[in-house]
């Protein structure tokens, strides 16, 4: 079996469940918002307005879409550094996100986090972690706290295929299953840990199978369609909320761009990239909406125009916002107000 053939072995959604017009349009609008935001981010990076490490979400938008319909706002979410799309899907404004990328004081974390570190307590978005796999025990701990407090909430703990090789994952899976913590682990398998394919780093290529060692319910999911992501998440969330403990989904997806903005992604074949671009979740969803007459071309055009305007306004907001002065560098290191910094 060739590498490509192996990657293509993605279970397609078999659910007959119908989603209503509102859901489809919500998904489409969110995916388009993320796509346009990320395209504009790349442009701003090229203009050196956005600096540092920057990882865009283009290609993986269906996962963010499925999350908004299947998960409650009270649920927590934590992820790694490819996080712009997930933060936006949680309802963090594109203005605040773009301003953060520009390092502006009006950014979601006041210019202190940048591309890799968005946080919002209100939106239950716990970051934005820059260390591969570090968020896996943290998400497990967030879930631990929900169980401790006796809530009905779960913590969606997201990571990539690269992080699936970190020891932190195995330690976390073990404790989460032992203690039956309300955590939904999601591996966004985009097939490449930076430039290294899944096939080159392990004998086990189906990452969902990692869960089996812990007897954790684990499934592979088609990550190019919001329907299949939603269905898998809904089922997993119901399992977790019933008190049965964690659930693990390997969502097979693809990033159309390189690992970061500085990566030309020469380790992939054109045929492979084309195969996944043919499944582009934004285009496919738009096509389905029109083909099944879920909404009219005029309604789609209205959404496109609104998103275009929103992203333009986000960029304008970011450009016009002030930079931090730098004088407040000692703030937000300690909550103790009179901490005696060495100067």
């Amino acid at each position: 079996m060739t590498q490509l053939a192996n990657k293509s072995k993605v279970k397609k959604s078999t659910s007959k469940k119908k989603f209503d017009k509102e859901t489809y349009l919500k998904w489409y609008e969110m995916m388009l918002r993320i796509r346009r935001f990320e395209e504009r981010t790349l442009m701003a990076y090229g203009q050196q307005q956005v600096r540092g490490f920057c990882h865009v979400y283009i290609g993986q938008e269906a996962i963010a879409a499925g999350l908004i319909s299947a998960i409650r706002p009270e649920d927590a979410i934590v992820t790694a550094y490819r996080q712009h799309g997930l933060a936006i899907s949680r309802g963090i404004g594109t203005k605040e996100c773009m301003a953060e990328l520009y390092g502006k004081k009006t950014g979601v974390v006041k210019g202190k986090g940048g591309s890799m570190h968005f946080f919002s307590k209100e939106k239950r978005f716990f970051g934005g972690n820059g260390i591969v796999g570090a968020q896996i025990p943290i998400g497990t701990g967030i879930a631990f706290a929900e169980k401790y407090k006796g809530t009905d909430n779960l913590c969606v703990t997201m990571f990539g295929d690269g992080a699936a090789r970190q020891g932190a994952l195995y330690e976390s899976f073990n404790m989460a299953m032992t203690w039956k913590l309300p955590v939904l682990y999601i591996c966004e398998n985009n097939h490449y840990a930076m430039g290294t394919s899944v096939e080159r780093t392990s004998n086990v290529h189906d990452l969902y199978k990692i869960g089996h060692a812990f007897e954790m319910p684990s499934e592979a999911v088609d990550g190019m369609s919001p329907e299949s992501v939603h269905n898998a998440l809904e089922k997993a969330a119901a399992h977790i909320r019933s008190g049965k403990g964690p659930y693990y989904l390997e969502i097979k997806t693809y990033r159309y761009k390189g690992h970061s903005v500085s990566d030309p992604a020469k380790y992939r074949t054109k045929e492979e990239v084309k195969e996944y671009k043919d499944q582009d979740p934004v285009k496919m969803t738009e096509a389905k909406i029109l083909k099944d007459k879920i909404a009219t071309p005029e309604e789609i055009a209205t959404i496109k125009a609104a998103i275009k305007k929103e992203i333009e306004e986000a960029v304008k907001f970011a450009e016009e916002s002030p930079l931090p002065s730098g004088d407040d560098i000692y703030e937000d290191n300690y909550l103790q107000k009179d901490y005696p910094f060495l100067t």
Partner: protein
């Protein structure tokens, strides 16, 4: 009213009182529950608080340290026990990259009110991997506070303060001090983090130390007194933030300083103290500052190596005689 209790009991009292006071406080670590603690610090706590709040973990330092960080970000107040700080090296990513930086990278959106605690330093012939001190390593990192305890009174007051503190705190204890007895008040008290204590007043030399090296400092001071040299002995108690004011005040009185520090010498706690004293008391020094550290080596197993490696009273007395120009 006070009574004499062991250091392990003082730490347990602190944790127990705080867990009674705040239901969001819990204890997690290896062997803390059913085994009653590898060093019996948490003895009886499982019986009082149950398995929801006194939690045995698998041997997964990185994992349970991270679970603590996540729980702290989500509103709880974890106490994470490491069987020794030597094992916490496996968890440094969570301590240094996450606990320390959550407040900064979230611009204050999320805090991390967590206590990491356990014994640090040598404890007999435990050889290279079980004998390291971590005060200097951890105290280098902004965002963290570092406490190192030497006696039951200090340990209880600082432990209670640490559990209530909103910032992430690392507490270093010592296997060889858990049985040490000391006066501890019956009534509740807290000590201020960031304050050193003058434990013995003197006029001729200042000896600064912390953790179990306080025993060495006291032993040296007792011997020196017999020779007419009165040493002022300071227990740092908190390493970060360092209470340099108390040290500088003492040095201005004694004009001489010896630091007894089980850290390795390079970029250790003693280096930092030396810097602040030359900065704030340069004109008051009548002799170069001398530090007595662990040897700049790993610690081999056999007994003569332990003697060669560790600071002891004789090494401190020699250092004091050097700074006081006594033959």
């Amino acid at each position: 009213m006070s009574r004499k209790i062991a250091l392990r009991d003082a730490i347990r009292e602190a944790m127990t009182e705080e867990m009674r006071r705040d239901e969001n406080v819990f204890l997690m670590g290896e062997e803390v529950a059913e085994y009653n603690g590898a060093y019996k610090v948490s003895k009886g706590m499982l019986d009082e608080f149950g398995p929801q709040r006194v939690i045995d973990t698998p041997i997964s330092e990185l994992g349970f340290a991270g679970i603590g960080v996540g729980a702290a970000m989500n509103g709880l107040k974890p106490i994470i026990e490491f069987m020794t700080w030597n094992f916490a090296v496996l968890a440094f990513d969570q301590i240094v990259n996450n606990a320390a930086k959550t407040l900064s990278q979230s611009a204050g959106e999320f805090s991390c009110p967590i206590v990491f605690r356990g014994p640090s330093g040598s404890a007999g012939q435990l050889a290279q991997q079980h004998s390291q001190t971590f005060e200097a390593w951890i105290a280098n990192c902004p965002g963290l506070k570092v406490i190192s305890v030497s006696d039951p009174y200090g340990a209880k007051g600082l432990m209670k303060a640490a559990i209530r503190d909103p910032d992430p705190i690392c507490i270093m204890e010592s296997e060889v001090c858990y049985g040490d007895m000391g006066e501890v008040p019956e009534e509740e008290y807290l000590l201020k983090i960031g304050e050193a204590a003058v434990m013995r007043e003197g006029t001729d030399v200042t000896i600064v130390s912390f953790n179990k090296m306080m025993k060495v400092a006291f032993a040296a001071a007792t011997e020196l007194a017999k020779e007419g040299i009165q040493a002022e002995v300071i227990d740092l108690r908190t390493i970060r933030p360092l209470d340099h004011e108390t040290i500088v005040k003492s040095v201005k009185k004694t004009n001489r300083l010896v630091i007894v520090d089980e850290s390795w010498p390079f970029a250790g706690v003693s280096s930092e103290i030396t810097y602040v004293v030359q900065k704030y008391a340069f004109d008051h020094l009548d002799a170069p500052i001398i530090r007595v550290n662990a040897a700049d080596t790993s610690l081999p197993y056999s007994a003569p190596y332990v003697d060669a490696y560790l600071p002891n009273a004789k090494k401190v007395i020699d250092a004091v005689k050097q700074v006081t120009y006594v033959k």
